[in-house]
Every structure is written in C-alpha cells, then in structure tokens.
Symmetry: C2
Subunit: 328 residues, 2 copies
C-alpha cells in the first residue's frame, strides 16, 4: 500500500510537494488542504480532492503523513503543533533562533496525539545542517563556513520593492569566489560579511523615477545592503520577466580541519547545492522525510524529531539489503 | 566517564585512530592489540599498554568499542566476526562486492555475543555512500557520478613496482576536470572510463633499466592502465621521497536530478573530500562511529549495522539540545 500524503497549504512549496510525490512510486497524494475556498484552488493531480483546512480533522484515518507547507513567520508556529495532535507531520520551519521553542511545542502536541513530527526540514535548515553536523563530528578540530547562492533572496527583493519609484526587483546573493577558494585551500580565513557575499540587484523603475537616488537608497540600506558590495542594474519589465522569473538558489557548506598527532594534516569537506528551483528542491527533502516519518510512526515512535535524529536508510524507498548491495 | 576505545592492528590506520582519539575529549585509548611482539610496537600515547591480540579476550570489561584496523583482503573477513563476539566493533571493510556476506557474518557473531558492530566505515564505502544515498532519496530522478582523486592509489603504485627495472613508484588518480564540469552543468554525460580519470605515475628506475620499455609496460597494463590516459614521469629516489611521500586522496560524489511536474528544473548535489592523509581521515570517521556504537550498545542494540542505519546525532559529542540550538 502507498504512503498517503496530505498537503496543507498550496503555494510554491505545496505545488513542489505535489510534483515530488509523483516521482516517488511508493507514495500517493490523498488530499490538499487550504485556507482559501477550495473551488478556487486548482491543483495538478487528477482526481485528488481540495479540502477546506478546517475539515482536515475528518481525514485523520485517510492520511499517513501531513506535509505542512506554510510560512515560518506566522503559519508554522501555530499550524505544526495544532496538526501534530491529529497527524504525523513534516514542516520546514526555518527561523533558526526559534527552533528550540518550536521543537518543544511540536513535541508536546505530537506526544499528546500519539503522532510523530519532523520539523525544520529543507536544505538550510536541513541538508546543510546535516552536513555541518557530520563534518563537525568527523573533524572535531576545524572551522565551518557556509556560503549561500548564487540565488534569489526573497527578503532582499522585497526590501528593494518597498523603495519609492521601484516597480519590481530581483536580488541575487552571490558567494565571493576568492573567499571560497581560500577556504578550499585550507587557509582558514576570518571572513567579514563583505568578504563572503556580494549582492546583485535587477530593478524595474516606475516611470520618471530617479535611478541615481534609487541606487543610493539600495546600497546604503541598513542590514540588507550596507555591509555588502552591491551592484544595481536597471532593466525593463520585459527583461525581468524573461530572465529573472526563476527561483534558483544553493550554496556551500565547508569544513576545513586538521588531523595527526601534531595536527599536521589538512582536510576539506565540501557540500554544495545548485538548485534551479528553491521551493521544488525543498519539497523533495520534505517528501523523503515524510517516508521516514511514516516508518517511524509505524514503529510506534511519537514526539518531535529533527534531521539529526533520522537514520538515513529511513529516507530511501530501497530496502536495507538493496542499499548495502548497491549504494554502500 | 570516557568511552574506552581499543585498537586492533597498529599500521597507518591504527595510528590514525590513536591521533583521532586525542581530538575527542569524551574518549580515551585503553589498549592497542597487535599480532606482532608487543615490545616491538611503539605507540604515541603515554601509559597505554600494547597487548598481544590473543590476549584481547581478557579485556572485554575494559573496552567499550574495539576499532579493527586490519586490511579488507584477508584480515577483516575473519577478524571482525571473531571479535564481534566479545566486543562492540567498528571496521572499514571496503570490498564492495563482499559487503552483504561480511554483514551477515558480523551480524550473526555480534548477536551471539550481545554486541553491536558497525562495518564498512570510512569515506568510500562510508561518507561517499551516505551522500549517494541521501541524494538518491531526495532526487529520485537523476544520475549518480563518483570521481576519485586527486589521490594516491596504493594498488596502482604496487602494480608499477612489480615491473622489472622499477625501484619505486607512486601513482595518482586524477578526475578529468572537463567531465566534472559537464556533470556540474547538468549535461548528464555518459562517461567512459577514460573520460572520468587520468593516471599520473612517478617512477624511480633501477640503474640501467630501459625507461621506454617500462613506460610502455605501464601504459599497456590490462585493467590498471590500458583504459586510461596515463602520464609517466621518471624521477630520482630523492625527489620521490621529498615530493611524493604523503598519502593524499579525496574525490567527488555528485547527483544531477530533475524536479517539476514535467521535470523542467535541474538540481545538483555535490559532495567533495580533499584529504592530506587518507588513513587519518578514514580513522576520524571510524572514531566518530565508535561513539555511535557505544551509545547504541548502551541502549541494548545488538547485531551488525552500516552507515545507513545510524542516526546522525549519535556521532556527535554534543547533546540533541545543543545540536538543535547551534547546528540546525
């Protein structure tokens, strides 16, 4: 029997989960839950019901794992604990500072409902965290580096759009190649904010807006841009649509460490992601961990978990025998 | 209380484990076991006994985890099952084709002794396997690529040394950069053996040996060199010692995959190791998994495991709370 997945929230992430389920033959999409009017939500999969989120409680025996596709700012802090009482749940909560609190809330709710919840999945937090952890355990003496990009930062794009005279904008975060190379060469550099990333902005102006003033406002914006080397390009609306409508992202996690009786040998562990679609890749991670949640719940496990707690084999559709024979 | 580690076999790997233990404050080296005369084996750590391997059975209550540092060809197939009856064990068995059989033997022995054994650890098999598995689970539609190097291949160096007229030799396996770039660009190339790696040889000749004949014998050697583009450099013994006495290695595991309703988006997951010392890095992996074996055995788990079965958090000296707060 297939693993029956429910999706709560049908934006970019929910649609990505729907696509990912299609690539995993041991899973099926059982229902999409939405806070909008269900008749206004058109999904890609034929024959799958779109249901009002309030009615999810009637689906507890028809869904094995519910993947919650809301935002971290306001949705997930309340949604994940609420639904963890009724379903095994997966979320992508990514407000790093609030993870311990969110974990405690989901843990209490899931235990009360005899359910399992895996939180803060995706790639950062998620696969990047996992690689930081493995690399730290293997090389206890060393330095960690994380670079993000090249990729679209939604927050920085929004910040530019709030400037008077800006019609639309897209901002790319780009790692500084020479700093990345210094890390790879084992130089263990101490890098400032400016030395780690540059910011490149593509801006569409309102008619009559003052380009020089807009550029100045961007480059001096506190927190967002003032500590970075920023480039601003003014382009037409057509060009923005044509060349900058994707949501690519990615980055690098590196650990540079020493071994030997006198720490005489250097080692580098590097993990890199290059993603055409940030939400679709994140969705793929959520779906693989939904398989793990299903299996752990079947064993009777309850409460909250993170990526650090999940045995790798639980993610794979292959049996342990197949994994040992073919992937080890 | 510290985790008490025993080392069985004191070559490059055993010495690497000894160095790694020193970097992990929650561990201590309890004893080194050897098949040689213990008085001929000098170790780095003060005050730790070197003991005849036969006497290991008297140490069962003084060792939490025994790290078996023998070779895969003849040592580990018998040693790991034998010692798994008495100790929680770790090994680096790397004969891919024989892993299922080795797993079964260690599983039976460890269960009989109420012990836990984790086999086939290191970086390939090991961290590379883990990355292949995670990447396959996250991107079910895609292609896998593994490149090794730049690094010293002991087997190929030995093969050159067996040629008449060769005094000493060192062989480096080198990934073909253009193929690596094609994979990174999402071209999903079908690569022949020749297109994946080149081989570079540094050879010291016996006096009077015919360089042209030696070069020809190397380049045409079946299996080892004939399917590769091979470069041969003749150098002096002094230069070999000075510039080629290290044991560096490393490599790349890549998965290139597609997502989206019509598989319209491409993604790349890349894991890279660059290692000054192959045995010391392998040792670091063994030691991190010794921590996991200790914890799992404490929970009463028995039998054989591989890297796919171990929850990541078990490798880390940090608590789950610390991991969630600082590494997630």
């Amino acid at each position: 029997m297939s693993i029956r997945i429910g999706i709560l929230g049908y934006g970019n992430l929910g649609r990505g989960v729907e696509c990912a389920i299609r690539q995993n033959p041991d899973m099926e999409l059982a229902a999409v839950f939405t806070r909008r009017s269900p008749e206004t939500v058109e999904i890609l999969t034929d024959g799958v019901p779109v249901v009002k989120a309030d009615a999810a409680k009637e689906w507890t025996d028809k869904i094995d794992v519910l993947i919650i596709c809301g935002g971290s700012a306001t949705d997930l802090p309340t949604q994940t604990p609420e639904y963890a009482k009724m379903f095994n749940v997966i979320d992508s909560f990514d407000t790093h500072a609030r993870i311990p609190e969110h974990f405690a809330n989901v843990d209490a709710a899931a235990k009360a409902g005899n359910k399992l919840g895996i939180i803060s999945l995706g790639w950062d937090p998620g696969l990047f965290s996992l690689n930081r952890m493995y690399a730290n355990a293997v090389l206890p003496q060393g330095n960690d580096y994380t670079f993000w990009g090249k990729g679209v930062s939604q927050g920085h794009s929004d910040a530019i759009r709030r400037i008077a005279g800006v019609k639309d904008a897209r901002q790319y975060t780009i790692p500084v190649e020479s700093s990345l190379e210094a890390v790879r060469n084992g130089e263990n550099p101490q890098l400032t904010t400016r030395e780690k990333h540059t910011r490149e902005c593509f801006v569409v102006l309102e008619e009559g807006a003052d380009a020089a003033r807009v550029e100045e406002e961007i480059k001096t914006m506190p927190n967002y841009f003032d500590e970075y080397d920023t480039t601003v390009h003014f382009i037409s609306e057509e060009e923005l649509k044509k060349n900058h409508s994707g949501i690519p992202h990615g980055g690098f996690v590196l650990r540079s460490g020493k071994t030997g009786w006198n720490e005489e040998n250097s080692h580098l562990i590097e993990y890199r992601l290059k993603l055409d679609s940030n939400p679709e890749f994140t969705s793929c991670v959520l779906v693989a961990y939904a398989r793990a949640a299903y299996r752990m719940a079947k064993e009777g496990q309850t409460g909250a978990r993170t990526i650090f707690d999940i045995p790798p084999a639980y993610l794979s559709a292959k049996s342990s025998e197949e994994l040992r024979a073919h992937l080890l």
